[in-house]
Symmetry: none
Subunit: 401 residues, 2 copies
């Protein structure tokens, strides 16, 4: 990985176009000796693999299982250990809230508190989502500001909601109010250093006002906050790489991650055809396109091997439409592995393919875990993918004389 | 890469000998499916590859195209991001100026300035090199010192020359005087921090004196300075690795880079036979030999595929003469790739071969990009080559108990 200063010094604009196609959770483990990628009929991916350089990426470091945040951030060229996007922020991105530089975001639960101040249910009996929306709407009408801080309350599923505080002097060096177990009192939000003092005060006031407003709303008569996080101070892709980037991502969290690094969010429906259509429509206006395919991960999480296979085959069918646009560099990879047998993200390295006129082809004959393992790129940190994409589109000047 | 302190702690002298043969710009891309290395008949290199460990190096970081400075510095075992040799220094090395620890060097142009102080030609009509030499000789006779600083003026080709300032308290935290475009006044040299103040004053005085001396020499009536750089504070190979190193390099810049890290420069003509002869003559006196082959890069820069092939074949013919000397470790590699189709340095990883009695042979059957990709060393940072050379000559003690 090169330092950010080096990107700033070496990167140039030249109009050449990059497509980064991310099949979420694509890496897997074999069932009856074959992974979903090995099982799927993928003539286009396999043809591209033969014409490309390939390898396997580790999103963060060998053996580390990443969340969606670090897994994507590293593919976008940022050190995932430096920019750890806080949970509150990810939660806000996940409901498509347009989070900004002055914001602190927190995950929150509606909970049940008893007369003695003890939490008896951290999830308020998992109230219906509709009830949650109703309460959030009521709270939003009553709590618009605390002092000079704007407050935004947005409902999530069941008992979950997100609260965003916007104002000067906010900081996330504060503790959670959620004791994470029943039978305890809620905790006071405390600042862990001087900079968090204002935030702690605002959060405690918020919790107090919510409790007062919901006094008669049992079981949802209290709020618990955790994962209080600040908007990350992350340079934009334009700033670092001189790219004009756009994202085609049907799911809010991925749109949010893309927005964090300064990508323009392009309109799309959730199906892959619609994503490709959006790519075609916007082809002339940007020089970097991130396309996100969610279902490979979802079926991995469900343990649905067959559906993961058919999703891969469906994506394969769209590859020629992307090729027709003649990107100068076309990368196909995942953000991490989600093996069906684990029904969860994993640390396994992720197949990676880079196609450009400037590659020396390597030995891999298909886009699979085992074939990409033969690739010339070897086993490498995903954060280098951006350097490679910029190199193969001649967007990096020579370093040193 | 290990820290310098670890080299100092672990390295020992034992008389075993290392040869590092650098074919400049050797890596390439295929034309009709073959790279120059794949096209060339190289029975000796291929035999060695079968008996060696092999891999592909990246000189600086994946995707980064290096200049000759960083590309060589890393092969010599130094972090190329820590020691970025400034352009002025490389320029001075390139004309074989014996640059020293107290020196600041600058690239310079003769330029044309009009009566109103505007630069009308940054290259003074590309005056003949002979005219340049005449002016430099005249200026040298008139400007030997400025205050307590010695000044050295050396001619280059056409309008280019090099000026070196030697004295106490000089620093390169100063700006260029070259506005890099015509129609502007030259810029004043300014210090970017306190340490650069003396240098800025000396440089402005230099520019003023040159202008006064060349008043009637239109078109070459002014000087523009850029890439003002300090001699890098780099430890010697003897200090770090306890090596007694020598360089056989016909081209000034490579001799200069070798001298920077403390190598003794051995006499040689520019042909490979002469280089091998110099190696034989000096075999007993040193324990590390760097041999530089320039033409592989030159033909890459020219896009001359056939000549690059024949240069490789010629070098191959000299391999047995090196083997006869029985080096304890023999490394053959390049400093970077220079693909003929790009006519320029590139980021593509570089074939690497290390022969010693202590290797486990690997799968590569020839010294080519694609065969070295099968090597046990994989895709690795060139800065590790020095550690491997020292290891394979038993020059590094055990780390820890």
């Amino acid at each position: 990985m090169i330092p950010e200063s080096m990107y700033r010094e070496l990167s140039i604009q030249n109009g050449k176009k990059i497509v980064l196609l991310v099949m979420d959770g694509i890496g897997d483990l074999p069932r009856n000796d074959k992974t979903p990628l090995e099982k799927a009929r993928t003539p286009n991916l396999d043809r591209l693999a033969k014409e490309s350089i390939t390898g396997l990426t580790y999103p963060v470091s060998m053996g580390i299982t990443p969340g969606s945040g670090p897994a994507h951030i590293s593919l976008f060229g940022y050190d995932p250990m430096k920019y750890n996007i806080g949970r509150g922020i990810l939660e806000a991105l996940g409901i498509d809230f347009e989070i900004g530089k002055k914001d602190i975001a927190s995950r929150a639960n509606f909970a049940t508190i008893e007369a003695d101040g003890i939490i008896s249910d951290r999830r308020a009996g998992r109230i219906a989502t509709e009830k949650n929306q109703e309460i959030c709407s009521y709270l939003s009408s009553k709590i618009k500001h605390i002092d000079d801080v704007d407050v935004f309350i947005r409902s999530g599923k069941e008992h979950r909601f997100v609260v965003v505080f916007r104002g000067h002097g906010l900081d996330d060096s504060v503790t959670d109010t959620d004791p994470q177990q029943i039978g305890h009192k809620p905790m006071e939000c405390k600042s862990t250093d001087k900079q968090g003092e204002k935030t702690a005060r605002i959060i405690n006031e918020f919790v107090k006002r919510v409790a007062s407003l919901l006094k008669s709303h049992k079981p949802a008569n209290f709020s618990l906050l955790r994962g209080i996080a600040r908007y990350p101070d992350i340079p934009s892709m334009e700033d670092l790489f001189k790219l004009s980037p756009a994202a085609i991502a049907p799911y809010p969290m991925y749109r949010g991650l893309a927005r964090l690094v300064g990508m323009k969010i392009l309109p799309t429906e959730s199906d892959t055809s619609s994503e490709i259509h959006s790519l075609q429509e916007n082809w002339s206006a940007f020089d970097f396109f991130y396309i996100h395919i969610k279902k490979t991960d979802s079926y991995g999480e469900d343990g649905n091997f067959e559906k993961k296979v058919s999703t891969i085959e469906e994506v394969d069918g769209h590859i020629p439409s992307i090729e027709e646009l003649k990107p100068d560099c076309f990368v196909i990879t995942g953000d991490h592995s989600t093996p069906c047998m684990m029904k969860a993200h994993s640390w396994h390295p992720v197949p990676f393919l880079l196609f450009s006129p400037y590659v020396r082809k390597d030995l891999s004959r298909a886009f699979t875990e085992s074939e990409c393992a033969k690739g010339v790129l070897g086993n490498f940190a995903a954060v280098n993918a951006m350097t490679l994409m910029l190199a193969h589109t001649l967007k990096l000047k020579k370093y040193g004389a």
